[in-house]
């Protein structure tokens, strides 16, 4: 029974091509919109997740507190309250995996006739543990370099590229703010950070060298911040408590007094960004789904017109023995076919559109097969859902009334 009905449905749709095309257009736009929106949404989500992964996991940063000079309060990180002693004490905490002290500043780096302005971080070899950052070439400087404030440097990919091009940087000497530093290694590529900064545009030097030789501070041995990696995600609340009580004790802060430092959970910040991306992706999908519904209503509208136009035909069929369910099935098949046709063309245009967006708008996209299967399934169910009412109306026509219809 389905065979001849399918043939008739195809015939009915192809006998009025312009109408079929216009009816399908709604579905085409809906499905294409859903696919493009989901691809853009998942692309954004993926790039956020990549950035989070590149940041390192289970991270805290301890910032020096806000300074206050004659009533003028400055932002966090300006006071010189954190010391290497603090960083070493935090290392001793049970729930802490690794600690990287950090001093930073901008500097001009020079090699031969090339120069490049970049951000220089003074830190220890644990920085690479905390940031989960592998080496590309050479080696990280070690404890002895930190103790002796050795003039050694590790370059990010961007800096290495700017200064050396395709030349091997390891073993060469560069100048940072005029002083010579031996390049011991080059970091692996890391990509963009959450806020869009190029993480590879950086130079690492021993924290002691930065403190004493590069950015000479008012108080020797102070740090701008300390990065702390907890042993696990579950241990993070405990780590936070331990850091707070340790530093309160070391800095002599009494209960009720404002602390001169600041502990921030970076992973929580990252998760907020991730969930924002997720919500955005959902929102885009939801907006696009509205056009699917509108497309479905278009199909229902045309099917209702079609049932009215073909009242007499329905009368003939019923008179010569079509069961009500045969009529129902025939019209339902037509609307499903319309919706699937729209779905197929919509998927093609959606995938094509996504590739165009990726190519010309430079937006990260991710086409998932789930989205395509979903778009198909939804368009078929839109066909059933919005085809049901017109089909039922056709199936319920009284044969005598239908035959009398002109």
């Amino acid at each position: 029974m389905i065979g001849p009905m399918l043939a008739e449905a195809v015939q009915a749709l192809s006998s009025n091509r312009l109408r079929t095309f216009l009816t399908t257009l709604g579905m085409v736009i809906g499905v294409a919109a859903v696919i493009i929106m989901l691809a853009v949404g998942s692309g954004a989500q993926k790039s956020v997740q990549d950035s989070i992964a590149s940041m390192g996991s289970n991270l805290f940063i301890v910032l020096a507190g806000s300074a206050s000079t004659s009533g003028v309060r400055l932002g966090g990180g300006n006071a010189s309250t954190l010391t290497m002693g603090d960083a070493e004490a935090i290392t001793e905490l049970g729930s802490v995996n690794a600690v990287a002290p950090q001093v930073s500043g901008n500097a001009q780096v020079v090699y031969g006739s090339y120069n490049w302005g970049t951000q220089v971080f003074g830190t220890t070899d644990d920085y690479l543990v905390v940031r989960e950052w592998p080496m590309d070439a050479g080696a990280m400087f070690g404890d002895s370099d930190v103790r002796s404030a050795g003039r050694v440097a590790v370059l990010g990919q961007t800096v290495a590229g700017q200064l050396f091009g395709s030349e091997d940087a390891v073993g060469k000497t560069i100048r940072i703010n005029g002083s010579p530093y031996l390049v011991t290694g080059v970091l692996a590529r890391k990509g963009q950070s959450l806020d869009g900064r190029d993480q590879d545009d950086t130079v690492l030097v021993p924290v002691t060298a930065a403190q004493r030789k590069l950015f000479g501070s008012r108080f020797q041995g102070t740090l701008r911040m300390i990065m702390v990696q907890s042993v696990s995600e579950a241990a993070m609340p405990q780590t936070e408590l331990e850091i707070n009580s340790l530093l309160n004790e070391r800095h002599g802060i009494r209960a009720g007094q404002d602390p001169d430092f600041n502990v921030r959970n970076l992973t929580a910040v990252a998760e907020t960004a991730a969930s924002t991306a997720r919500v955005m992706s959902l929102l885009l999908g939801a907006i696009a789904s509205i056009s699917l519904v509108v497309g479905g209503i278009g199909i229902m509208n045309i099917m209702l017109v079609s049932v009215t136009e073909r009242t007499r035909e329905i009368g003939i069929r019923v008179a010569i023995g079509a069961q009500p369910r045969d009529v129902l099935l025939q019209f339902l098949l037509e609307s499903i076919l319309l919706a699937l046709l729209g779905g197929t063309v919509g998927v093609l245009i959606g995938v094509g559109g996504t590739l165009i967006v990726e190519r010309f708008a430079d937006v990260p996209v991710l086409i998932s097969s789930t989205a395509i299967v979903l778009a198909f399934a939804v368009s078929a169910s839109v066909g059933v859902f919005f085809g049901w009412y017109p089909a039922r109306k056709a199936a319920r026509l009284e044969p005598i009334e239908a035959l009398r219809y002109h």
Partner: protein
Amino acid sequence: MSGAALIRVEGLSKDYVTAAGAFPALRGVDLEIREGEFVAIMGPSGSGKSTFMNLLGCLDSPTRGRYWLGDRDVAGLPNEELARVRNRHLGFVFQGFNLLQRASVVDNVALPLVYAGVPRAERQARARVLLERVGLERYADSLPSRISGGQQQRVAIARALVNRPRVVLADEPTGNLDSHTTEEVMSLFSELNREEGITLVLVTHEPDVAEYAKRVIRFHDGVVVEDRQQQLRTAQRAGAVA
């Protein structure tokens, strides 16, 4: 030629509910039509003849009364069963031909077989046999709009016959035809009745058309007012055409 009772109605009545109250369109009709009969039903507009045909065709259910088709009581069957009876036991020919305009002639003839669940090859074969019977096999693959009104009505007759019904019901089958094609269609009817013993019931208000029938039943105000056999002219005219 006439055999056992094929159609038997007793006290068949139909009331239509209108704004002005119930209107009795048919008021207790008793009739018997035997196998192989050729019956013309006549009467003015509003006499109840169309209502009677709709009831015979199982397109409508009577308000009161009984209707046996063969030995089966079909009054008051549910819609699905009525559709099955129409498909298997009845053939319809309408005034306006009522062919599907988008389907080819042979597909139109085969349509009842689709709903009977007959496989495609057999549908096509049976439809072509019937088209040959009505002399239109060369138009099998044309669309109905490409052939004349008389030819279209012959296609409709082929469609009515394709599922080997027990009776063919024709409602004003020549109402849209000129006198020449009327004769063409009516000759085919009497030929089918005479040579193949097909039972025919047709509604008409044209005396010329009624003359082809062997029996004339006249309705007035919802009751049968005349029921007579006629022999002579039918045989003559049918003989002349054949």
